[in-house]
Symmetry: C2
Subunit: 223 residues, 2 copies
Amino acid sequence: GMEVSCISTGQVFAALGLMCTESVPMRRRRVIEVLQGLIDLAAEFGKMVNLGRVRGSINGEPRQAVEDRFVSVARELCDYAADKDVTLVLEPVNRYEIDFVNKVEEGVALVREVRRANFRLMPDVFHMNIEDVSIGGELARHAAHVAYIHLADSNRLAPGRGHIDFDDIFDHLAIVEYDGWVSVEILPKPDPDTAARQAAEFLRPRVDLYNSRLMALRGEPCP
Amino acid sequence: GMEVSCISTGQVFAALGLMCTESVPMRRRRVIEVLQGLIDLAAEFGKMVNLGRVRGSINGEPRQAVEDRFVSVARELCDYAADKDVTLVLEPVNRYEIDFVNKVEEGVALVREVRRANFRLMPDVFHMNIEDVSIGGELARHAAHVAYIHLADSNRLAPGRGHIDFDDIFDHLAIVEYDGWVSVEILPKPDPDTAARQAAEFLRPRVDLYNSRLMALRGEPCP
């Protein structure tokens, strides 16, 4: 009975080497077709598709040209996805992994430019720890654009194994009554099962408490 | 009347491409000679030489072999430097920039292996924010091995422009009565002069307060 929360597109970049910002129109057409296939899949599973490194990079080009190509591709994908009730979520990623959309704030600027209700953000607190002026504060400030949050600690191990203040993050999210997904994206260390167990043990009581707070705020009875 | 605090060796790696962990003996000899030249310079200016990326990398080799080569080079350099009252300081650097000595704790392990009084650490809080389980806590815990601290905020801008809690860092350093250098290593953004001014304005009152606390702890009169 496990629910799929999102279709990940990491392999479109990693295996096919395709990016939304391709300067060659035929390659841009190809990335749109591949992502449309994943949107079709998301229509049945999760209703969400993420855009990580597949969004593309600036790589020495004029920033505006790269942004324009991204916005045009994003709009076409969003219009295709809207008919299937699918949302695209863009993940800001730290400077060491990509040179385009590092801060959540930069993601918000793009969301405003794309102007599609099903184009939103997927902040990852590991990347935010490197890029953003605050974590909880920035998540709360931009909550209207956030559909999904990746949780990992500052060293990308399971939450609780680094120095990120997750209680502060949940406190900030509760203020804006964030009601989207959170999921864990971490390194499989010391091994995948142990890392998953550490994350679950740390997060479960906090997520339960968070959900109770939200229900209380809304005047709903405890489950 | 400005004092030189340290001779930096970044260009030995960046311009000459040399590393302490070179597997070819002749190249290891060459890096030793170049660093000995910088130790000679440090004998007159600052009495300290840092080892950043010039320390080398693992790069798929067995870790022990790389470590052994590093320890052997470090000992030879330390023995040469000891006669000139010069200290070598190793800087732990985050995983995206190098694969050898990321955490302060890993630096401490190497310091213990090298076993030379003039081989110590130069933690950088920007890197610690990505690698270490805490910043102030780890600095205090390993203070005996720390000779120099690089300050930058979480986004590598001037202290005060990100989310690192510098008051917490100074509180921890005061507990162990840290009395070494701190200096600022940041991105020149929005421009070099502005960044330097931001850092000075943020740090000066904190460093003054810190020094007063240290003098009070030692029963010395205020300056």
